[in-house]
């Protein structure tokens, strides 16, 4: 019996791996045969970066319950660090160094900011993180090395689909596995009831800061990928609007659902591609989505459920059962 369960678990993880590889190969083939062209590749990149941002913010806001409005700040640290390093070392190792340095710098800032501010709750934390990301933006706006408001241009471009795939899949795997660990369960218990979690002996500050640091780390990666793909960054790219964009994805997908965030990131990237020439209309639609979802379905598209293989097969068997009866 035990053996059977083990084999089942093994097949499940094998199928997952297979699906991942399949996604990679299919899109790689589409790019090779020229079906996904440069224009669609921009959307593809936006989707991947959005997924990384949304999943990592979901860890902070959806799973740990700490409302952060400063994700763009962490993203900008990753972007600027990576850009500054790759512009001096325009090689692949230079890019990897920049990416890692960017992510680590974002995580370090996350810890430094998180330690004092995570004592605050709910909307105070939201305002403090918002203030923090504004401070980061103003600093980048005024430093000489970041070229002020004009921003950095001519960043060497290294990012292509394999890189994007590795980091997007890597972020999702990192966060899903973190959530399955005892650390992840501690984070979820903080969301459910902080006082009760504390009473059970969970060091709430430690886990909140951990979640914050992992979220910031991933946002740093996203920023580095952004800088390297679009080879141009300026402080206004990472303003309050960007943080809200990410928040919309998390809320739309469902706070506490990784697959929901992924779906919402894809959906919103597609919507904004279609509405590219009407940027005001895009924001009006975004804001209406936010309001309507909060009033009618505050748990988001997926709630806290996950899209999983067993769910799909259940759905499949339901349909085949119906067919059989007819």
């Amino acid at each position: 019996m035990k053996k059977l369960a083990e084999t089942m678990r093994n097949t499940k993880s094998w199928t997952k791996l297979l699906l991942l590889v399949l996604t990679y190969v299919i899109i790689q083939l589409l790019i090779l045969f020229g079906i996904i062209q440069d224009f669609q590749q921009i959307t593809l990149t936006t989707i991947c970066i959005n997924i990384i941002l949304a999943v990592s913010l979901n860890l902070i806001t959806g799973f740990t319950g700490q409302f952060s409005l400063g994700h763009a700040g962490f993203m900008s640290i990753g972007a600027y660090t990576c850009a500054l390093i790759t512009m001096r070392m325009p090689t692949i190792p230079g890019f990897i160094l920049g990416l890692v340095a960017g992510a680590v710098a974002a995580a370090v800032v996350g810890i430094l900011v998180g330690l004092p501010t995570l004592r605050l709750r709910g909307d105070y934390l939201a305002i403090a993180t918002l203030g923090m990301s504004e401070i980061i933006r103003i600093v980048f706006l005024n430093l000489n090395i970041t070229n002020g408001a004009a921003g950095l241009s001519g960043i060497p471009q290294f990012v292509n689909w394999p890189w994007l795939f590795v980091f997007t899949a890597g972020t999702i795997l990192l966060i899903v596995n973190f959530l399955k660990s005892s650390h992840g369960r501690a984070c979820i218990s903080i969301r459910e009831d902080e006082i009760a979690a504390e009473a059970m002996g969970i060091n709430t500050t430690k886990y909140k800061v951990t979640a914050f640091a992992i979220g910031a780390f991933c946002a740093g990666i996203a920023g580095a990928l952004y800088a390297s793909y679009f080879f141009f960054i300026k402080p206004t790219t990472f303003n309050f609007q960007k943080s809200v964009d990410v928040l919309v994805m998390v809320v739309l997908g469902g706070m506490g659902s990784v697959s929901g965030s992924v779906l919402a990131a894809i959906l919103l990237a597609l919507i904004s591609t279609f509405l590219q020439s009407f940027s005001e209309l895009r924001m009006v639609i975004y804001s209406l989505i936010l309001i309507i979802i909060m009033i009618f379905r505050p748990q988001g598209l997926m709630g806290s459920k996950e899209l999983s293989l067993s769910m799909l097969s259940k759905l499949g068997s339901k349909f085949s059962f119906r067919k059989g009866r007819v």
Partner: protein, 294 residues
């Protein structure tokens, strides 16, 4: 010394505007524990209403001020009824996200209709264009006017909150919503009234900032809104005199920093003050520390 006095006067003008906006934040937070992100956009709408009244209708400053306040009152109450009332029993994060949604909707909806370009107010005429000579410093009448209007509005607000029946209801609801309801207070009306008061003040601040800085755009509310919120937190959120004091302090600090240190960093300083206050004394300057109940 003269320059310093000038800076202080500029700071008081700016602080008056922050204080007016902060009052709206603090009252709404006091009564339903919501950071009303849309408040700063009501202030922006106030500036636009004033602009249209003065440019296209050609009416004077005071009627425009009243018109802006009236439109903002209606807008504030409508937003409360449509967006926040259905969420009375939802989680606080849900309401906060709705508020962000409403804020974006107002900003980009306005941008869609009036376009993103910066517009400037018509030049002031008559008494308002003159300057007042106090010893050897000259103060533009405009700054005197801003201070006077702010003080009048604050006194009116104090009167409404402390002396009238609806003001008593507001104080009761902010203290304990359920108990107030049991005492026969209509909570919904009281909350709507709070939004109306706050929005009217924001509308007044909007038109004042329009004539003071002479340029308006659909995103003008974002930064002043955040700084006014900082002012409200600084003074102790939910406390009306706290918001006034906070507004003036933030205004003066901002002007002094841009005058004597570096104007590019003034916003960063204001947010740094916010983070320091939140860490050192989260209840604010006039707030009392409350113990958390399980």
């Amino acid at each position: 010394m003269e320059q310093f006095l000038h800076q202080i006067i500029n700071g008081i003008s700016l602080g008056s505007i922050y204080a007016l906006v902060a009052l709206g934040y603090t009252m709404v937070y006091g009564i339903i524990k919501l950071i009303n992100f849309a408040h700063c956009d009501i202030y922006m709408i106030g500036a636009y209403v004033g602009y249209f009244c003065m440019t296209f209708l050609g009416i004077g400053f005071v009627p425009s001020l009243l018109a802006a306040m009236a439109v903002c009152t209606v807008l504030g109450v409508t937003i409360e009824k449509i967006a926040y009332k259905p969420l009375r029993n939802a989680t606080r994060i849900a309401v906060l996200i709705t508020a962000i949604g409403v804020s974006l909707f107002l900003e980009y909806g306005t941008m869609f209709f009036v376009k993103a370009q910066v517009r400037s107010y018509p030049p002031l005429t008559g008494l308002l264009a003159k300057t007042l000579q106090l010893g050897n410093i000259s103060v533009p009448m405009l700054q005197v006017l801003i201070l006077a209007i702010t003080i009048i509005l604050m006194l009116l607000l104090q009167f409404v909150v402390n002396k009238t029946k609806i003001g008593k209801a507001m104080r009761a609801v902010s203290m304990d919503q359920d108990a107030a309801e049991l005492m026969g207070i209509n909570v919904d009306t009281t909350i709507s009234f709070t939004f109306a008061l706050g929005s009217a003040l924001a509308g007044a601040a909007g038109i004042l900032v329009g004539v003071y800085y002479n340029s308006i755009n659909p995103l003008m509310g974002v930064l002043p809104g955040l700084k006014s919120f900082v002012a409200a937190v600084f003074g102790g959120i939910g406390i009306i005199p706290g918001a006034m004091i906070g507004g003036y302090i933030i205004g003066i600090v901002e002007v002094l920093i841009s005058g004597y240190i570096n104007s590019m960093y003034r916003d960063a300083f204001v947010f740094a003050i916010l983070i320091l206050i939140l860490i050192l004394k989260p209840a604010g300057l006039l707030g009392k520390n409350t113990r958390e109940k399980v």
